[in-house]
Amino acid sequence: LAKTTQPISMDSYEGQEVNITCSHNNIATNDYITWYQQFPSQGPRFIIQGYKTKVTNEVASLFIPADRKSSTLSLPRVSLSDTAVYYCLVGEGSSSGSARQLTFGSGTQLTVLP
């Protein structure tokens, strides 16, 4: 299993850029890196996914260095509503198209302050 390590918590202020880094030293060659957001009393929600270099969508950017042993989720200009737990997920390698065990890390509690 590609175990992940994230900071337990982070604080930020509205309007700032927030970067959350996840370590995954034993990531497998075929694994993708996926980030999820979870609000209280809800299931996690997909934010962004990448394999290498940089990926950007309407809500976030994901930076992955060449060795792929870490990744950084970047949230531009956060607001109070971005307060949530953010999980980094790296899947276990398997054959294409097959389900597999997907183990979440402990997550990072982001608190955005006014």
Binding site: N30, S41, Q42, G43, F46, G97, A99, L102, G107
Partner: protein
């Protein structure tokens, strides 16, 4: 379209009773996952299904836990002789599994309270 549906949303039971938790995945999704989340904690992987098959049941906490999936759709997670430590939110997720880089779609979970 409809998302992942879980029922009941809340379940209160007495210690020693059996409970069944249901998950209706998104139509056409071949993969289905169960996770458990205790208060203030992260997600604990329990089991996954590829179609109706569960290749790896080692994540289930004890032999009181079992899960099945029929017709490649609905799944039930059964906990026998519930204990207070089983109290948690049980989350179900499904995935189309059309490519290696699968995305999980989660339901809102079942809050289980064992008194």
């Amino acid at each position: 379209g409809a998302g992942v549906s879980q029922s009941p949303s809340n379940k209160v039971t007495e210690k020693g009773k059996d409970v069944e938790l249901r998950c209706d995945p998104i139509s056409g999704h071949t993969a289905l996952y169960w996770y458990r989340q205790s208060l203030g904690q992260g997600l604990e992987f329990l089991i996954y299904f590829q179609g109706n098959s569960a290749p790896d049941k080692s994540g289930l906490p004890s032999d009181r836990f079992s899960a099945e999936r029929t017709g490649g759709s609905v799944s039930t997670l059964t906990i026998q002789r519930t204990q207070q430590e089983d109290s948690a939110v049980y989350l179900c997720a499904s995935s189309p599994m059309t490519a290696r880089n699968e995305k999980l779609f989660f339901g809102s979970g079942t809050q289980l309270s064992v008194l």
